[in-house]
Amino acid sequence: MRAAIEAFDAGADVAMISKLHPTRSHSGAAEGGINAALGNAADDNPEIHAYDTVKGSDYLGDQDAIEIFTAEAPGDIIQLENWGAVFSRRDDGRLAQRPFGAAGSPRTIYSADITGHVLIQVLWEQCCKRDIPVYEEFFAWQLVENDGRCQGVVCWDLLHGGLKTLGGKTVVLATGGAGRQYRVTTNAYACTGDGMAMALHTGLPLKDMEFMQFHPTTLYPTGILLTEGIRGEGGYLINKDGERFMKRYAPNALELASRDVVSRSEQTEIDEGRGVDGSILLDMRHLGAERILERLPGSRELAMTYAGIDPIFDPVPVRPGAHYHMGGVETDNDGATEMTGLYAAGECACVSIHGSNRLGGNSLMETITFGRRAGRSAAEWALANTTVEVPAAVERDADARLRELLDREGGERPWKLREELGVSMLENFAVFRTEEGMTRQIEILEGLRERYPNVYVEDKGQVFNSDLTQAIELGNMLDTALCMVTAGVVRKESRGAHARPHDYPTRDDENFLHHSITRWKDGGVELSTSEVRFTQWEPQERKY
């Protein structure tokens, strides 16, 4: 939506395509906040924000991109506020900022614990104001490549049925992540990596796919997100003995170390038998009812609804769960991909500002800042160039593939493959990774991909055929998962979210200070690397 608003304001004729109504997107589920160095709560500036982000990325983030990001973030926040975002306030009436993990200053702007929700509302309001058309519940399936350019998208119209092809001089992917590859995830059902898969299948490179962030506090057993803001407000992590174990892993930052560190610490506690039924406990009893009700009411409601626990009285069982793809479609600092006319922004893109580990509060900010930049550059290109041509063959081919899938009269139901994918990814490609596990996972994925051409769509109708779209989503998840694990095996080091404590426990800057690039070639993954861009920070050991 941010990209669409910017493109519209730049004078382009713009429309949004979404498989959900725009306000249903998963950005709305972000809770804790959005980072910009406003300096309202303490001394802060974009350079410190940049340093924190570089360090958090384990030096794999591209520093020029990070500097642009932190410099432009404050202006973007002010604009959102001026547009009407309902943020929480300080006593002096300015925007409140709370501490977040691995941040040198309290710089996370928030709205209680529904920050993503208020942002998605304000962006939708601005889209309504501009009357930007939305192709709602259009499931984007394939990019239209013609003349070496991206010139549109082939979609399945979920509500009415039928393929619809939309031409466009430029296309901006803003399709989010693929957390549904994992059985325990904070992600919505919609997060199935559709944009990454579309780009991949068009021959574009995906970057740093092995880095999947595990959020430290997802509710047991569902994996529903409990915000980092709980720890930002002073919540503790304790093991079964009540010990605040983070002291042993991150003696200074404690619970507010970066997410990869906290997730690994929790997993170690659980693996070594100091957990409680496969979880550790998030304790906010000492915060008191008033503070919980004022600052964390949504989290309390989630805990009460899905775990039957009132955090005012009892700690909440949490564990690491798949949360965020640091990797994605490779773009430059203006969101442009390798293919003329195709742009990407947000979680589906990899600029990269997150490197191998993202800081909490940076992803919402990235969607805004880089969404704006991608929208602007996509509009400028569209306004300077004229023609759009969608060859008739594109829709014909897509239709043939669709017929093949819909006409199948038997086979395996997709849910079996989806469950096997979710369970095996969690087992073999989660917080800790081993050579053996990853090798096995590649075999499992190959096996699932062999079975995939036989999945059976039971619903043969046209109207709201979500059985069909779920089958397509499964294919997207399988292919992007293969990219992730393939890139993971060859990264023989531990960096950020990619931890191999048993065979390669340390970072290896000499051999692996580079981005992983995966491309789709002949039905498989082709690997290569690309340089990390540095400006002013040399790699150092990371301690919290």
């Binding site: 249903r24 929480s88 059902y189 009700l293 009460m304 899905y306 109207v463």
Partner: protein, 365 residues
């Protein structure tokens, strides 16, 4: 757990409608949405419903269970299964059904868009290029309205919309209040003029079903009441509904009881009231009004007057006069919140008290 569901299936292509019964096995913690997923995966792939976040924030999965709107992802099924009840699941009301549990949301969004649902900055924009300076207390006026996830549960249940499909409805009006109550918005009067027209604020029947059914505690009816209060405060009171409300207040504060005989002339005007004399006579005949009004002042009128005085003294004009948040808080709380931390730690079966381990110095360095 073992569970039964009856689902109203609907096929818009053929117009066929059928109540189908299902049996399924689900984990104890399953929500209604989880149960539908199990059915779709394992029994009937053609079952249609919307879903996404499964954590009550995206607003996709509004539907009806036993005739009342719910978010499927918020509805735990364990107790229902234990009771052996077989709930009936159907699409939301007041919106056209597309397929099974999926409704056409276009009418919903059309009304949303009719509210000018975006901030219209006033004249006091911050000159330093920074954020507006507003107290949290002032922002709290729109706190509940800002929680709305556009799920449509309130619209589904709206009785006024059932009789007047053009009624703007609880969701759109709550969105309107989100801007009317926002000190940054400069279009309050234009908004209230617009919202006060036919099918607007005053056409709400005050049945409170929207408050009852909202899964997020937005309390849309309260928002509509606040819009009404703001309209009257700003003199936008030409609508009969506004005059009606004003008369209630005036009547309560002067004599402490509702002078019904004066209500119609004060609301509709004298000419219209005369036309309704026949109706009034009929009411009297059935004992619905007293034949001869007896002027008197209620014994406890002081209480009503003091309440008004209090609101005036606190300068809680318009929407601010509407008491905020109690209901939302009440919905969340249970147990004794005033327990001390020591008491909480000492509860039977409580998790251990948190403590920090000693860490050797070299680890710290």
């Amino acid at each position: 757990m073992q569970l039964g569901l009856k689902i109203w299936r609907y096929d818009s292509a053929t117009g066929e409608r059928e109540l189908r019964e299902y049996e399924l096995e689900a984990p104890d913690e399953a929500t209604l949405l989880d149960c539908l997923d199990i059915l779709k995966d394992k029994q009937d792939g053609s079952l249609a419903y919307r879903k996404s976040c499964r954590m009550m924030i995206c607003g996709s999965c509004g539907m009806r269970m036993d005739g009342a709107a719910v978010l499927a992802c918020k509805t735990r099924m364990y107790d229902i299964a234990q009771e052996g009840r077989v709930p009936v699941i159907s699409a939301m009301g007041n919106l056209p059904i597309v397929k099974d549990l999926v409704v056409d949301m276009d009418p919903f969004w059309d009304k949303f868009k009719a509210m000018w649902p975006w901030l219209q900055p006033g004249y006091d924009r911050p000159e330093d290029g920074r954020e507006y300076r507003i107290s949290q207390e002032r922002m709290n006026v729109v706190h509940k309205e800002a929680l709305c996830i556009n799920c449509g549960c309130c619209v589904s249940e709206c009785n006024a919309m059932e009789s007047d499909p053009e009624f703007l409805g609880p969701q759109a009006l709550a969105k309107g209040m989100r801007f009317v109550g926002d000190p940054r918005d400069g279009a309050t009067v234009e908004r209230l003029e617009r919202y006060s027209q036919e099918h607007g604020i005053w056409d709400c029947t005050r049945c409170y079903f929207c408050n009852e059914r909202c899964p997020k505690g937005v309390d849309p009816r309260d928002a509509i009441a606040k819009l009404g209060a703001e309209s009257i405060r700003l003199g936008i009171d030409r609508d009969m509904g506004a005059k009606h409300a004003k008369w209630f207040v005036r009547s309560a504060e002067t004599t402490g009881w509702l002078r019904e005989e004066e209500l119609i002339p004060k609301t509709q005007g004298y000419a219209s009231a005369i036309k309704q004399l026949k109706f009034g006579a009929s009411l009297a005949k059935h004992g619905k009004v007293r034949p001869v009004p007896v002027p008197h002042t209620a014994k406890d009128v002081g209480e009503a007057r003091n309440l008004r005085k209090l609101v005036r003294e606190q300068d809680r004009q318009g929407a601010l006069g509407h008491v905020q948040g109690e209901k939302a808080l009440e919905r969340l709380t249970h147990g004794h919140i005033d327990a001390s931390l020591e008491e909480i730690y000492a509860r039977p079966g409580a998790a251990p008290r948190p403590w920090l381990p000693e860490v050797e110095e070299e680890a710290k360095a």
